[in-house]
Every structure is written in C-alpha cells, then in structure tokens.
Subunit: 296 residues, 2 copies
C-alpha cells in the first residue's frame, strides 16, 4: 500500500469511528450535535489521528486499541479551530473553503461546539480499553498527557501568546513558543499517546517525541510558506493574509529561503529520530515528505 | 461545629487546594493564569465542592482523597459561568458584584479562560489517588461520569436549550430540561463522584443521586424567586432581569406561590433520600435548608 493509500485508509477508519463516537445529529438538542459534526467532518486531513495510529504501529501496537485516543486528539484539534475562528479571536469566515461554525450556527453555538468537542475528547479517552500493556493506570497517564498538551502549557498557551502578539513584531523565540504550543503540543501528544497505549519503551517514546516535535515544526513552517507561495484554489483560502495582517511567521523572521532551510532541517531531524525503527515506522517516514511537499 | 462553620471550613479547604492546583498567576503566559484565578476566586459559595466532600463523608470516605475531584467540579462550574457571561451568550457585565472576565480581559481571553479551566478540570481528575476502594478503574469511571455531566447531555445541552429559548415562552418540560442540565447535572456529578471515590454501595449512590437532583431543583427555583423577591445588595446584581428579559422561570410558569411549593417539595424529597444515612450526612441535610433560605 502506498503512503497516500495508507493515509486514506487511516482517515476512513478515523472518520468511521468519529461518526460512531459523536452523538447522532438528530439527538436532542440537535443543533449542537449537528454543529459538532459540521466542524468535525469538514474535510480535515486527519494527520494527528494518523500519527496516533502510526506511532502505535511503529512500536508493534494495535491500531484498534488506540482509535478512541486518535479520535479524541482530532476532536481537540477541531475544538481549537472552532474557537480560534471566532470573531473575538482570528475572526475567520472560511475554513477549508466552507463557512466557519459561527458563520453557520452563530457565535453562541460555536463557543458551545468547542466546549462540547473538548469535553467529549476526555470522555473518549476515559473509554480507552483498560487492558493491554499499560492497564488502567495507563489510561489515567494518557489523560494527564493530553490535558497538559491541551492546557495553558500547550495548545491554549500558544493561542494566548499568538493573540497577544497580533500586529506586533515578535522575536524568534516567541514565534517558536507559539508554534511549539499551537501545533507542536498536539503532534507530540499524538505520537506519545499512541506509543504509550501500545507499551512503548522509554527509549522509543523519546525518539518518537523528537520525531513529532520536528514534524510539527516542519508543518508550521510549510504552512507559513504556503501563505506566500501557495495556490488559493488548492488551499481553499486566500493567500497573503499573514503579510496583510503583519503576522510573525518563519519567512517574515528568517526570510523565505531561511524558512525553507529550517523546514528541511526539521525534516532531517524527524527522519533521524526514526533511525532505529524498522519498516513498521515507514508511514511515519512518509509523513515527513507529505508534510514538506503538501500544497494544501 | 455549626453548619455555617462547616461550610466555611470546607470552602477554605477547597480554596487552598485550588490555589495549589491552578498555575501561579505569574507563570508564562501570565494573562491567562491571572484571568483563570480572577474567575475562580470571585467569591463563589463553593456549594458543589462542598457536596463532593460531604457525600464522601456521608459514606464514610476521606475528604482529602476527593479534594481534587471537588476542585475539578468547581473549575467546571467556573468555566461554564465565564462562557455563559460572554457577549454572544448572556452578555453579562457583572457577576457577584465584579466585572465579568471578558469585561476585564477581553472576549478572546475569556473564551480561552473557560477552555483552560475545562481542560484543567480533567487534568485534576486524572490526578486522583489511584488507591482506595475503586482503584484506577474508579478514576476512569469518575472521568466518564464528569464528562457526561459536563457534555451535551448535561451542562452544555442545558445551555444550548437555554439560548434557543431566549425570549420565547417555553413549556414546563423544557424549563425542567434546561435546569436539570444546567444546574442538576453538576450537582448530581458532585455527590456521585464524592461517593464513588469513597466506595459507596449502589444503594447509597442511588439515594445520594436523588438527593442531589432535588437539591439542584430547589436551588434553581430559589434562584428564580430571588430574582423577584431578593435584595439587590445581598445578591450583588440587579433583580427583575428575568421578567425584563421575558425569561422562562419557575415563578413565570408555575406562579410565585406554586414555585415556592415546588421548592418545598424538592427539599422534602432531598431530605427523604437521606433517611437511611446517619449523622455523617448531617451536613447534606443542613445544605437543604441553606439552599432554601439563602438570600444570595
């Protein structure tokens, strides 16, 4: 199976599970359940859940066992997008070519959609199988890991600093903080929970963590580059908004070629971290090139 | 120790623990940690955490063991207030006589404060002691219970229906749904997790659940009555806003004396549910009268 076929297979596995885990669109009060599904099934690439499944596989684990965790991470990612898009935050009307949640359902419901996805994510994690290498203690450990990644030392902290930095020229260190929190924390948590649930050794866990941090960094730099060099139609959103909004980005602080070199180096670090893994980690390797070469 | 002294003792225990569990106000990025503390230490009565501690005591448990759960429930309650006060929701400028979070820190930070408190709540639950009657399986069970109470079948569902019902004349059944979700779900979860962690029997758990549901109902009815008959100075907010906003309330749908009779009946049900408990449940009994007679 090619890398792309495997990515499609994983995404469809995750979509099927998400469809099962999310309350039915018709269940009372239906507007919130409809709105949750609208944002979850909005054509996301499912990269984070793919990381959960693939890191489980890389350490010899069973992807079915980590599926609730993969879905939980995707719900967290979706919640953060819904709240980030709010008028009080980034005020975005479009996401992946479709109107954002608050444009369709109104601001109040959009706030509650984010809250509900965040809450459901923890509910799913608590439903992880309590058998296997880590047992119930492991489930609790996984929940702690995710709560930290999603909290003010992770996802939320990154968004706070991002908001405070709006229209300011931030330094390289602040930019690094924003992205290691906003993107890095969930990438990191994805590989770590996938590996933890599958009984990874501390050594494997460390290597996968280095892999994820560098993959997240490469992803973010490419994101910034696409906002300059990307194709609006493929991206499903207008380009040039970062420059228009005077947003601190890797190209803005390091130059376009400097940013490209940084992405290349991060990809190299990510590849190096997988050195001692066998062919079970080939999908993780493929993901590095996918992230570097993506056009949307 | 009188009931009021015991309530003060519990509140101070909870406040001390919350102070420990919340990130220090100065830790980076400080605005979010300051803002979290601003809303958590806003003079709340700490009734929900008191319920957690007291239900543990009622079944012979140790209040220290349930303290993280008590704090988690208070964080959930605070998150829901911060988000409910947002301009897109109830648009409230004052809460307990102080400016609401978004008035002080802006809307973006207020959204993130709610998100952060919700996330931290689950982090705290994952930190519950994994020893005792329920073990680690119990911790996972507790997290499931809380995620359900806080989700779209609980807290969030109630808020959704409340918003959809704004300026509409809802029927008695809808009013009951809104409050059994918005107030009832967390009251219910409070006694249940306190009792579960302390190794309550299924019989005890059922009785305490009936107690909490009726206590929550009485609390809500009294809330509605205070908006008509209350003293603005003691309440720390203007009265009459429900009538002005044509809000569906118990007095509006059942008449003022009908609502008072309902509160009395709920209190009687709550008292009856504690019949087989000994003096260890005296605080829970006292809480019924406290809720009925409160003036703020």
């Amino acid at each position: 199976m090619s890398f792309k076929e495997e990515l499609v297979r994983q995404a469809s596995l995750v979509d099927k599970a998400l469809n099962e885990y999310l309350p039915p669109a018709g269940s009372y009060p239906s507007v919130i359940h409809e709105a949750m599904r609208y944002s979850v099934f909005a054509g996301g690439k499912r990269l984070r859940p793919a990381l959960v499944l693939a890191s489980a596989k890389a350490v010899g684990g069973d992807e079915k066992k980590v599926l609730p965790a993969a879905c939980a991470i995707e719900l967290l990612h979706t919640y953060s997008l819904v709240h980030d898009d709010l008028p009080a935050m980034d005020n975005d009307d479009l996401r992946r070519g479709r109107p954002t949640s608050h444009k369709v359902y109104g601001e109040a419901i959009a706030v509650l959609v984010g809250d509900a996805l965040l809450t459901l994510a923890f509910g799913l994690l608590a439903g992880l199988p309590q058998t296997g290498p880590l047992g119930t203690g492991g489930v609790v450990h996984v929940i702690t890991e995710v709560a930290e990644a999603a909290g003010t030392a992770g996802l939320i902290g990154g968004q706070v600093v991002d908001i405070l930095s709006a229209e300011k020229l931030v330094d390289k260190q602040t930019l690094k903080y924003i992205h290691s929190c906003k993107t890095g924390a969930l990438y990191r948590a994805s590989v770590r929970v996938g590996a933890m649930i599958s009984g990874a050794s501390p050594e494997q866990l460390n290597k996968l963590t280095v892999y994820a941090e560098n993959l997240g960094l490469a992803f973010q730099i490419v994101d910034d580059i696409l906002d300059i060099e990307g194709d609006e139609q493929k991206l499903g959103k207008p380009v040039g908004s970062d420059i228009k909004n005077q947003k601190a980005t890797y190209p803005a602080l390091h130059g376009l070629s400097g940013a490209k070199e940084m992405a290349r180096q991060a990809a190299e670090q990510a590849t190096g971290a997988l050195y001692h893994f066998g062919s079970e980690a080939d999908f993780l390797r493929g993901l590095i090139y996918f992230v570097l070469q993506r056009d949307n």
